[in-house]
Subunit: 204 residues, 2 copies
DNA sequence: ATTTTTACCGACCACTTAGTCGGTAAAAAA
DNA sequence: TTTTTTACCGACTAAGTGGTCGGTAAAAAT
């Protein structure tokens, strides 16, 4: 552990900068040299710590993306009473982060899922695993919401989870082109509206 | 016109194959040589007809993507009586195409919007123009639906349009990883549910 | 019949890419 | 103190990349 400190620190620096550039320019459009240049490190350093570009990206997924998705999209809604309120707040926060910070990890996820789709199945699988955890988490909080009387019993929790994630990913795709504030406002309004219909008696 | 026939035919062949490969492998991950090889054409032929890779892609957007989005996502809902029914059918068709054919143009659009985002503003703008036309069309049919008594007057048409496009783009992102049938089913179910709430009296 | 244009060929260029490899200074282990 | 390991350097390679350019055969225009 102790003796690995320097190693870990350098690897972490590379991962953070790597994710930043991969996110900004895309994986295939970002070279290792780009990352190295912005860190003032050499090829040797990179291939000392990582086996390949792919291996490097996988380590980013497992060390940075997984954890951030957990802390931003999963933990905030876990164990909350009212699922709709919890999800609404969580999405609102995430979209606000997206607006200012321009790197919320729900979108990082969907962005990379798109990019690697059918181009790199290894990476795709790692990304889809995260998506599945997110989905399962939404489903379970909705199910619990049924017992607690917040969610109509006829609601299809899996369907709702899919719909929620879909719309979130979609609106984030649109937000990157600007007009974020307006999009966020419109999106949240419709989300509330949708939730209303799931709490009422008439449900599909 | 007549004398341009051969020219047009070759350009069209290049565009069709180009779109296929760009869609499958991504723009930055597809070389002109890849396209030329699969057409048994040479560099000379390419640069005789197009000025650059970017110019080539723009021509694909304007000749193929625009038209397909029109014929698949815009015209089918134009002039229909009940907006919800029209949109529902249209989306259902598009997602079915996606399932079998694996290239529906609503997704082609969102896919490329993601890829070019912040990487090529010229192309991004062409793509966003198409998105805007789609959105405007949805808004106007929803507005008309209000006059005709299908849509609740308190509904925010622009918000609904945004939400619809977002969710559609999102679900398509997820569909490419497989499990299409199930995703489509769940998505359509929730869409109908959402529409129900917009037709009723209580609206946001 | 001659000239010009069209549509294409493919060698070539400058540059970028992921990845290799021999070397090395400093730190840790012996 | 000597040896070994760690963490890194940077020149190099082979395989692409987008794009240029001189050439050419067939068709069209004159």
């Amino acid at each position: 552990m102790d003796k690995n400190l320097k190693r870990m620190a350098t690897m972490h620096r590379m991962q953070v900068t790597g994710l930043e550039l991969f996110y900004k320019n895309g994986y295939y459009n970002t070279s290792i040299d780009d990352i190295l240049k912005s860190l003032s490190l050499s090829k040797g350093a990179f291939y000392y710590h990582f086996q390949s570009k792919e291996d490097f990206f996988v380590s980013i997924v497992q060390n940075l993306i997984v954890r951030k998705v957990y802390s931003l999209l999963i933990e905030p809604i876990e164990g909350k009473e009212d699922p709709f309120q919890a999800i609404e707040k969580c999405f609102e926060n995430a979209l606000e982060t997206a607006e200012h910070n321009e790197m919320d990890y729900g979108f990082v996820l969907s962005n990379f899922i798109s990019e690697f789709n059918r181009r790199n199945t290894v990476i795709s699988n790692y990304l889809m695993d995260i998506y599945k955890v997110w989905e399962v988490n939404l489903v379970s909080i909705l199910q619990k919401g049924k017992s607690d009387g917040f969610v109509n019993r006829h609601v299809d929790s899996e369907g709702v989870a899919t719909y929620l994630i879909s719309s979130y990913m979609g609106v984030r795709t649109l937000m990157v082109q600007g007009n974020c504030r307006n999009l966020r406002y419109k999106y949240m309004q419709q989300l509330r509206h949708y939730f209303n219909s799931l709490a009422q008696k008439e449900a599909v």
